[in-house]
């Protein structure tokens, strides 16, 4: 999923300070799963903003709405009938959601309430870890299903670097060394031979070669 964290409340308050009518819009997909932008978080943020407005004697109207997906037109369309009633849309969608809503409503003001962070996994309750960079050229098959581009701080294809000590990454001892995981997993599978191959330089054009990427599928168009 795409993970995100809510921006500090002071930053959000500063962004919406000039406006009287605010619609807080959540997203029921990834950011709901990582507890940053779902219906519950929309409620919490709207309440906090209302309390703040009251405490500082401001006359501000703050409403709530959560779309199933903020990055797909069919769901964004639910805003069509209400959007004109507001000065600003405070989006708790990921960066893709914020931009998708803005594209559908060119004249509306959309502000982000989240900092979108990474593609990751729910490791345990309250802990999400980054494990995919969306490089467009998946090589997990060579690396025992541990991505070195994402999980090695230096993104080494032919690791490990010289700083791995006691299974830990030199950059952050809280993080396991991805290459230690790769070597151990390959050893367990009896596939250490995969490490004898020198991996050639990666093809980053699949990630950023011509600017923003798109996927175009004729079979999905009709």
């Amino acid at each position: 999923m795409i993970t995100a964290e809510r921006k500090p409340i002071t930053e959000i308050k500063e962004m919406i300070a000039p406006y009287k009518k605010v619609l807080v819009v959540g997203c029921g997909s990834c950011v709901a799963e990582c507890a940053s932008g779902g219906e519950k978080e929309v409620g919490l943020l709207a309440s906090a903003l209302r309390m703040d407005a009251k405490a500082s004697g401001k006359d501000v109207e703050i409403k709530e709405m959560t779309l199933d997906r903020q990055c797909v037109y069919e769901f964004i369309d639910q805003l069509t009938d209400v959007i004109d009633q507001y000065d600003v849309i405070l989006s708790l969608g990921c960066g893709a959601g914020v931009q998708a809503v803005a594209e559908v409503f060119p004249k509306a003001l959309i502000l982000p309430a989240l900092n979108t962070t990474f593609i990751g996994q729910t490791k345990e309750a309250g802990l999400w870890i980054e494990n995919c960079r969306g490089c467009g050229d998946c090589k997990l098959g060579y690396f025992a299903a541990v991505c070195p581009i994402t999980r090695c701080a230096k993104g080494l294809f032919n690791g490990p670097c010289g700083g791995s000590k006691a299974d830990r990454c030199e950059v952050d001892p809280d993080v396991p060394c991805a290459w230690q995981l790769i070597v151990t997993r390959l050893e367990d599978m009896g596939r250490l031979d995969l490490l004898c191959k020198v991996h050639p330089p990666a093809d980053w054009s699949k990630q950023q070669g011509k600017g923003p990427r798109k996927i175009y599928r004729e079979d999905q168009r009709s």
Partner: protein, 307 residues
């Protein structure tokens, strides 16, 4: 101007090589580099110039190598993949050769979060092994990544590093084999204080036969004080500094600790000379270049051979 790597000639003729390290200044003063070069000249075969080590901005290694070359030294250009993409790396490799630099040491580099630019974007377009392979192809096949031909290939003796003390130990030896396969011709190791583990690693290296394919130079860093020993043991990534070395440094009065550090360095060099497959030493006297001549002399590696 030299036409061949002096380091390569020393190693090929079977001499036990001695290289040292020169860290460029955090400023634009060429005299700092030249002075370090003058201290080392004649006492070592070649001098490595570090490339923004620990991610701290310093005078560029390429420029410092050119300064040392003009002083009559044989510089080893250290280049890290942290700061340059493949276009810049390959371009600088050509530039280095054109300037007359004949040795290159390919590294991935200390992570930028350790230095004075922690908000920098780490490039890591390619890794150190891919970089070794790239330079080798540029030199031997005369082509850049992707196959375009060079009008003139660079002339460089190609090195890489290995840390025998990092984990996993068993894989460290096969990693060296991979570096050799990628095209490395010499290897400089992390500082050796734990000679027992180093010997264990060399045993694994000999088992793979890689010691016959690359020249291995053991890393030596003389300790200035007991405090430095403790600091390195606890704060430097990838360092294995056993408790008995710290105890030994503490056992002498502070005034004599530098001498003791040099003594440990000399003893380590002598132990390394006895290990099969070790073909030289690389002395990294951090901001203490004037210790190098004495260490080389006391290790009876002076005067340096002419080849």
């Amino acid at each position: 101007m030299m036409t061949e790597s002096w380091l390569k000639k020393i190693l090929q003729s079977g001499h036990f090589a001695v290289t040292a390290e020169c860290g460029p200044p955090k400023g634009a003063d060429p005299e700092v580099v030249k002075n370090k070069g003058r201290i080392l000249k004649g006492h070592v075969d070649s001098v490595n110039v570090t490339d923004n080590q620990t991610g701290v901005v310093r005078l560029s290694s390429l420029a410092a190598c050119a300064l040392l070359l003009a002083e009559g030294l044989d510089p080893v250009l250290q280049m890290v993949t942290r700061d340059r993409n493949r276009i810049a790396l390959q371009s600088d490799v050509l530039g280095a050769s054109a300037l007359g630099i004949r040795n290159i040491l390919c590294l991935s580099g200390d992570h930028q979060s350790f230095g004075n630019q922690p908000q920098a974007k780490g490039v890591f377009d390619i890794d150190s092994i891919q970089f070794v392979q790239t330079v080798r192809k540029m030199r031997d096949a005369g082509e850049v990544i992707g196959g375009d031909k060079l009008t003139q290939p660079p002339q460089l003796f190609i090195g890489a590093v290995e840390n025998p003390f990092a984990d996993p130990l068993k894989y460290r030896a096969s990693r060296l084999a991979t570096k050799a396969e990628a095209g490395a011709e010499f290897i400089q190791t992390q500082c050796i204080y734990n000679i027992k583990r180093f010997k264990e690693w060399m045993g694994l290296v000999r088992d793979t036969g890689v010691d016959g394919k690359v020249y291995i130079l053991g890393g030596i860093t003389p300790l200035k004080s007991a405090r430095m020993a403790e600091y390195m043991a606890n704060n430097v990534a990838g360092m294995d500094l056993p408790e008995e070395i710290i105890k030994r440094m503490k056992s002498v009065p502070q005034k004599e600790q530098r001498q003791e550090g040099m003594k440990i360095a000399v003893e380590t060099i002598q132990e390394l000379q006895a290990i099969k497959g070790v073909r030289g030493v690389h002395i990294m006297a951090i901001e203490w270049e004037d210790a190098v001549p004495q260490i080389v002399q006391e290790a009876k590696l002076s005067p340096r051979p002419q080849v």
